[in-house]
Amino acid sequence: MASGIKDKVVIAGMGCSKFGERWALGPDDLMVEAFGEALEDAGIERDRIDAAWLGVFFDEQSTGKSSLPLSMALRLPNVPTTRVENLCATGTEALRGAVYAVAAGACDIALAMGVEKLKDTGFGGLPERTKGTFEDLYLPSSTAPGAFAQLASAYARGYGYSIDELKRAMAHISWKSHENATRNPKAHLRNRITIQQALDAPMISHPLGVYDCCGVSDGAACAIVTTPEIARGLGKRDPVSIKALQLAPSNGVEMGHESWDGTHTLTTPLAARRAYAEAGIGDPRAELDLIEVHDCFSITELVLMEDLGLSDEGRAPHDILDGRYDRDGAIPCQIDGGLKCFGHPIGASGLRMAYEVYLQLLGRAGPRQLRGRGGLGPALGLTHNLGGIPNRNVASVAVFGLLAGRV
């Protein structure tokens, strides 16, 4: 019986570039920016890295293929590098590779780098891409907002909300993330918005208005991971530890079988259940101090509160409007602004989420530092990605806590 990943690997250092429309920078610049911070944080030399994982999604529009863009940008010492890609779970997938390698004893120190340079297409939104030679022949040429807007139509019908009622909760989600991002100098979008602005925004894909959609950003984030022993040797007295790292991909049911009703993601509850078990979390509502979820669109965040077991089925709109996931709520969500405002450079996003949880656990989050339950600081944080679209996706759930932690 596998014992899981809990507390076998810790984070020695992390880095994250500023996210945004980094017109003057390429993916190599972004990786160097994030890597420099992580190296300094870890307190190691570059050549101590034994292996590295690169996560990038739109390779055609940015880095090109393979792991070489990472090895070459950072001038790594010819150590093994691997490129991974798993839709919007790509960054977390890079982390999983690095963490598993350390846990396996295959290397002492590993790097996980996620990067995306999206703003080289010449137009707003995500780059256009093929869905594959067969699927291009029959699937709609959907966009990301269009694919996620499907959740809203089904959720509203399924739980008896009007679209206007749902929009109100969605607007609160976006308003909250904008508020949080004002405290984050690295965030892409740092402006405040009003609920009314969100409600009145131009329609992107019904019922998602422009403020229901996350930023399309350039950015990179990375983690240097190692064993608890080596971390202690580096002077990390109570490092941030990986408590769980789980992945649940679709197997086609949502796309092809009538059993999926379209109101939720099928995969997130699976990944969450496994992650809670791996981390030893019995009651996530009582134990999680903060969460970073895949809020690519406001409606996604809304249904994820239920998919992660944090709101009762059909009740997320009420919990959201009650402020439960606000900065001062019971379970602060997207304390760094989330995909919505920190931005969403796809390959980097999972690691960006981990970066925020890491900072919060170490008490290094500056003006947005949370006090945690009981005022002792956050002890346990969750990150979640949903790669793909509700019809088929890769859900990842990771849990981080202090190694000596209060759990």
């Binding site: 297409t121 010449g122 137009f123 939104g125 256009e128 093929t130 030679t133 067969f134 291009d136 022949l137 029959y138 699937l139 709609p140 040429s141 959907s142 966009t143 907002p145 269009g146 694919a147 807007a149 499907q150 959740l151 809203a152 139509s153 089904a154 509203a156 019908r157 329609m203 992107i204 894909s205 019904h206 998602l208 197997n251 086609g252 049911v253 949502e254 796309m255 092809g256 079988h257 009538e258 059993s259 999926w260 009703d261 379209g262 019809n391």
Partner: protein
Amino acid sequence: MSDLGSILACGVHVPRLRLPRALIAAETGWLNPPARNAPAGERAIANWDEDALTMAVAAARNCLAGRTAAPAGIAFCSTTAPFADRDDAVLVAAALDLPDTIATQNLCATLRAGTRAVLGARADGAGGSTLVVASDLRPTRVGSPQEPAYGDAAAALLIGPAEAGELARLLGAVSRNADFVDHYRMSGIRFDYALEERWVRDEFLMKAVQQAIGEVLAGAGVNAADVRHLAIPAAPGLARRIAQGSGLAAARCDERLWQHCGDAGAAMPLLEIVAALGRSEPGDLIVAVGLGQGVDALLLRAEAGAGRAAQALEAALARGREETSYVRYLAHRGLIDADFGMRAERDQRTAHTVAYRKRAAVTAFTGGRCERCGAVQFPLSRVCVNPACRAADTQRPHRLADSSGRVKTFTEDWQAFAPRPPYVYGNIEFAEGGNLLMEVTDVEPGELAVGDAVRFEFRIKDEDRARAFRRYFWKAIKS
């Protein structure tokens, strides 16, 4: 006289969108002053995802609905077939999931193609029936007399040996060729060039056509005064004049098609036949005329099933929705260079190797049904999608085209490239189970709701402008 056959079934497709002639007049009156006398009615215009081929498939499906035996032949008649070299009839037959042994014909380059095919059906079809489907989508120059007069539509007739419940019997026919150029369009040219209507009327319609009508009646020993209907591709006033001139004193002519559709080119003679049958009592005699470098004059007798024609026509005409934007119509016809944004630049290359090996799925909309658990799924796959089954190699082909569905989720997407924004798509659950994320067409913003029932139509999926190729797939339509 040899057996000319019977009309066993009919089908009509008139696109949902209708452009009011008054709107055309308002927009082009500056250019062509006579058009200011806003003509009444509307013309049918194909949606951006319809062409002569998709309209033909729609009409043919209506025609074949409820029939169990496949026709032995299919004739596709059009002057605007999308492919000059790719057998359009084979593609239509494939979309209809007809056997690959069916005899295919493409009749083009004349508006008389439909009646030619009807007359050839019994000779070619031998023992079985022949599906004659005629369809046209003729672009018209802005401000031209053709712009309000033409319409886009398709009609299908199943011709075969007499059977109970048939719509009509062909009693006689006369064909005369004449290289009379009332209009023409050279290969590779978009628009018709039409000559003076008075000349066409006086020198051709009132002479050659009247003569052919006289001959077909004489051949059948029928008194002109006993003919109850004249089905002719001509505007109502002109049609009545031809009827009078031909001695068809009691013959009624159609007005509904001209009011709501317009002259549908190669499809028009067949549409006129359907319209005439639709207003016929069993036993009524009908003279039907096809025109185009000559005349086909057909004599038909309405039979017991003629009433089905009225249903076919009314169902097609009734589903109209007004196109309120003349500019949008121009953009869809490629008559103005509208900016659809950078997302429209996406490469729409078709991997033809894939399109061929997946042709049952893409062209015929055939998915799979698991023989072990019964789960229907699209596309057919090696391993069953039912999470409780997941058996391997248990699926048999299961055609979904004639099924129905229900909207489970949807959106109106203003960001995606769409020739007619918003781009509407959603999860469609099939009546027999199974789910597919599908485009929804012929729908306006605010019209669709979760739970709506849908049916499916064969439509243009993408245009590959870089390689001048058009690909097709099935879309959901609110039923």
